[in-house]
Amino acid sequence: MSTDLTRLDVTGLRAALADGSTSAVEVTQAHLDAIAARDGALNSYLHVDGETALATAADVDRRRAAGEELGALAGVPVALKDVVVTDGVPTTSGSKILEGWRPPYDATVAERLKAAGTVLLGKTNMDEFAMGSSTENSAYGPTRNPWDHDRIPGGSSGGSSAAVAGFLAPWSIGTDTGGSIRQPAAVTGLVGHKPTYGSVSRYGLIAFSSSLDQAGPMTRTVADAALMHEVIGGYDHRDSTSIDAPAAPYVEAARQGATGDLSGVTVGVVRELGGDGHTDGYEPGVLAAFRAGVEQLRALGAEVREVSCPSFDLALAAYYLIAPSEASSNLSRFDGVRYGLRVGDDGSRDLDEVMAATRAQGFGPEVKRRIILGTYALSAGYYDAYYGQAQKVRTLIGGDFASAFADVDVLVSPTSPIVAFPIGQRVDDPLAMYAADLCTLPASLAGLPAISVPCGLSEGLPVGLQVMAPAMADDRCYRVAAALEAAQDAARGGRFLDQLAARS
């Protein structure tokens, strides 16, 4: 009996493909079979094109047999969040307003993964326009958490998290505006990294909040995340916020971390994110798992100290002004003229009426709420009190980070204050939903890299530990996360997700 190819991480898949013990077609077929068998229950994919995937895989196999030079990830399947524009492949951003749209070009992230030889399995479900923390705001139905089908897989990259945790893709691309890679990774037992803002091109990502949006890897291991980041990252002239500077080698940092030696590394534990006097809204089981993780970092040689970042208490308020403001502007492009839905164009209505009808029918409730709130925060007479003030808070948060990083190399916190909550529990209470982002928002607002790595279970559900680093020091995230992962794997006697595999 051969190995189940869907259980391998990418490091394992690359080895098996390189030594000929499997083929790209076999690997792709194994994932397509798993999707056919189990995605009816999970709803992690919005679009799967098995025929094209198999043809791409067959081409890789043929070129490998012919001895041609292949991309670094030749034959490795991948799933992309549906916010990533893909040439000729339906792209909806989780919205009815883009149903049926086939983009005429590839996002840079998609293009680089294609050039590396990956096989696109499909596009994953998400909260509409990435607005949400549960994937319940998708216009195409909620995605379910592979650990408990009655619970959310996090969001907004919940299809990407569920697909990888559910063994329907070896890894995936997510996007993170306020935590949408890290929180879904945490609640499904994955590694998820939000790169330094500007380190991965935003060209071809359907914009939500342009000063915050960033794409990144969602994987089963830290090493896989580092590998994907190296492939998708780097300067792109088509994104005016792309950083034109060499990055530290991420894979090497992960390898170094996995040796388990963190001596010389100073770790700051952020008091305002679950520390003394700041535990409201945090589940005790999450805090216990987090504290045990911090003790493991100490045992690996890290120097651990508490750090105070008082402005982080205002991150949620600032984020929920800045992101809706930018969204209200970005989403004005959905006008029913150039792509997507058009409603009520019967000759009796003028452009404004058709636009209003189109947007009313095409957008879901959370998108409408955020457009209205953003329009308010930007309107004359309110701009200074809301949007302007939120931008000043953003400066304060950046200042807190700068002070902290003068003394420590990385900052740590729980990734999410809570484990995956039941589907339906918070969907009508926007503020309760927003609280899921409490720990991830500060790094978003400051544009800093932050990774979530599995850190035990609470009530049988995954908990994530977040590692934040200074801008362009993503390598520190990978090093510290890999050290924790290696220590936990050794103590457990296997990978984190093997616990889930053992249940099914």
Binding site: R102, P103, P104, Y105, Y197, G198, S211, L212, H237, S240, T241, L314, L316, A317, A318, Y320, S328, S332, G336, V337, R338, Y339, G340, L341, D345, R349, D350, L351, V354, A356, A357, R359, A360, F363, P365, K368, R369, I371, I372, L373, T375, Y376, S379, A385, Y386, Q389, A390, Q391, K392, V393, R394, T395, L396, G398, P430, L431, A446, G447, L448, A471
Partner: protein, 103 residues
Amino acid sequence: MSTDSSSLSRDDIAHLAQLSRLAVSDEELDLYAGQLGVVLGAVARVQDAPTADVAPTTHAVPLTNVHRPDVVTPSLPREQVLAGAPAAEDDRFRVPRILQEEA
């Protein structure tokens, strides 16, 4: 709009929806007025921050004047772009009328 800085009336929501080109039903007005009032109350906390001498941050990466060489590069083919449009005519996007008839 209402003078109370952290509440939104039904009329406020209707006005903002009109500015946002969103047709909203009576039920939506009631729902959003309630929900957004709660959200606005929470986000208004930014006004308590000590920001007297603080400059705003619009962007995490302080980049200015990003230029590329002024050369012509290929655009997407017209038919490919129009293929995604809800309505096209004579190689152009077809739009509903913009100006009202003279009364």
